[in-house]
């Protein structure tokens, strides 16, 4: 696995680069290790509390471990009325975990999200930010199979 120190250092001279560095770490790890937040505080010369405050403000960023593949289900109103709840139930059943949890093998995490801007095809989920639209319970196994 890549070294988060190297990743963060690459953004050291970018004005306001803290958030970009978090994105870069998350692209590599699928989350931001807590130590990486404390290291970023050093690099960007700010109190740990501030670096942590920034990382935890943004819901697209996640401090602390999560699965290799992050599945996010849109629950905004258009997806809500298009049957997001049934998709949630199918995903929970297929993976044997509840929303917010990670599978025992560390492969999948289930999360809610608000609109991801693919509303031509509600209900929508994303896996590692790649959108899958017009979902229904029957389609869930095939989509997951791509990542198993």
């Amino acid at each position: 696995m890549a070294d988060y120190k190297k990743i963060i250092n690459a953004y050291k001279d970018l004005p306001g680069g803290l958030i970009e560095s978090y994105h870069a770490v998350q692209r590599e790890f699928s989350y931001i290790p807590e130590e990486a937040v404390f290291y970023a505080a050093e690099v960007f010369d700010m109190p740990k509390a501030k670096a942590y405050g920034v990382a935890t403000f943004y819901s697209y960023l996640k401090v602390g471990k999560r699965g290799k593949n992050v599945i996010r289900i849109c629950e905004s109103a258009p997806c809500h009325i298009a049957g997001a709840a049934q998709v949630v139930a199918a995903l929970e059943k297929e993976l044997g975990i509840k929303m917010g949890e990670t599978t025992a093998d560390g492969k999948f995490t289930l999360e809610f999200t608000e609109c991801v801007g693919q509303c031509q095809a509600t209900p929508v989920i994303t896996i590692n930010s790649k959108p899958y639209g017009d979902l229904n319970p029957a389609k869930v196994p095939a989509v997951l199979a791509e990542y198993k």
Partner: protein, 407 residues
């Protein structure tokens, strides 16, 4: 019957987004050259005269905004494109950026020349990493071709905070901070990014600029509604046949959008409500469907045009349940900086949820109304001010549905 009119989407499907030569062949970058042959004042006057108003929701006159930054004499100014597009049901900025990124870059460069700035940022939402890739490639091509001159553009990623669509929160986020809105004044055109004069415009606003320069302010002013001329890109969701996007002149009515281009209601069901402008918009009942979609007409019916999202609900939909869901959105997205919003969105969701689950009372409905009224005026930014709109508008137009769920 209403028809599409494509100005900002003029190149969609006609050119390859990652071939700058095709954009140039279609007339691209002529407007930037034309702008640079004009004086800055004449250029700003032309944009002002076109009547173009912001497409991000606030509807401010674009040329007027530019003039505020132009007037300030300082070493550095910034042009920022708001591509945060967080309003649920909205994806029009994505369509523009995915299909015609150079239009956006050209619009930004024209703004840069007008106000005297050599640095632009595009703040693109984190949920669109594939769009960020397209933008970066497009910027690299524009640099290679030398079309932008000394105007530099950099892409920054948002990270899933709806409030960062608010321009001062967006600026905080580019600076690397938590995305909390600033107290205003000063407004960004005077004191924005790193304290410097900064123009923040929406993607769709910028994409209009090259066309206005090419065809002239008078041409633009003659399209659509006179107080909010031009077109608007709409994205249709919910129980409508054509769940897709359209660009229409701003004088078409809501009915024409839903029953014309939208193809009517799915399975021929009856219409119940439409929410326009995204999740922060008011709910509109059938009696107002003949209202034109332009900014000012929408305001007169207590609704908004906002981002141009059109969320259609048929007779079977449970309004109270939908508003419960929406009030959860605002509780989640409130940044917590000001008390009326932090506490208000939480209590509002709590009360909506109680009513939805059948344990509400008339007293709870009165409290909701009161809280909504207070928040609309007491919250620091547009998030908290608009958060009560779905609740207040449904209490007004769909009270029977609330009553039916009371304990």
């Amino acid at each position: 019957m209403a028809e599409e009119m494509r100005i900002v989407l003029r190149n969609v499907g006609k050119i390859s987004p990652l071939k700058i030569d095709e954009y140039i062949k279609a007339g691209g970058y002529k407007s930037l050259a034309k702008a640079r042959s004009m004086s800055q004042i004449d250029l700003i006057e032309e944009v002002k005269k076109s009547g173009l108003r912001g497409r991000g929701g606030a509807g401010f006159n674009c040329g007027m905004k530019w003039s505020f930054s132009y007037k300030i004499d300082t070493d550095q100014k910034y042009v920022v494109c708001n591509a945060d597009e967080g309003e649920p049901g909205t994806y029009k900025d994505r369509i523009i950026m995915e299909n015609d990124p150079q239009s956006l870059l050209e619009g930004m460069a024209i703004c840069g020349y007008a106000i005297g700035s050599n640095k632009g940022y595009i703040y693109c939402r984190g949920e669109y990493p594939y769009v960020v890739e397209t933008l970066n490639k497009a910027i690299a091509q524009a640099k290679d071709k030398g079309v932008l001159g000394d105007f530099d553009i950099e892409v920054r990623m948002g990270a899933g905070a709806y409030v960062c669509g608010e321009e001062s929160a967006l600026i905080e986020s580019i600076e690397g901070h938590r995305g909390e809105p600033r107290f205003k004044p000063p407004f960004p055109p005077v004191e924005g990014l790193w304290g410097k004069p900064t123009i923040v415009n929406n993607v769709e606003t910028f994409a209009n600029i090259p066309a206005i320069l090419e065809k002239g302010a008078d041409w633009y002013k003659g399209i659509g509604a006179s107080s909010y001329p031009g077109t608007k890109v709409l994205t249709l969701t919910g129980d409508v046949v054509n769940r897709t996007y359209f660009e229409v002149p701003t004088n078409v009515t809501i009915r024409e959008v839903i029953y014309g281009l939208g193809g009517g209601m799915v399975n021929g069901k009856n219409f119940k409500a439409v929410q326009i402008g995204g999740t922060s918009g008011g709910f509109i009942p059938e009696e107002f469907l003949d209202t034109p979609i332009d900014f000012d007409s929408m305001t007169t019916i207590g609704a908004v045009l906002g981002s141009g999202a059109v969320f259609v609900m048929d007779e079977t939909r449970d309004i109270v349940d939908i508003v419960d869901r929406i009030s959860k959105f605002f509780e989640h997205e409130s940044c917590g900086k000001c008390t009326p919003c932090r506490e208000g969105t939480k209590r509002m969701h709590e009360m909506m949820h109680r009513i939805n689950k059948g344990s509400g009372t008339v007293g709870v409905m009165d409290l909701l109304q009161n809280l909504g009224n207070v928040m609309s005026v007491a919250c620091l930014c547009g998030l908290g001010q608009a958060a009560p709109a779905p609740v207040l508008s449904t209490l007004k137009h769909f009270k029977l549905e609330f009553n039916a769920k009371l304990n």
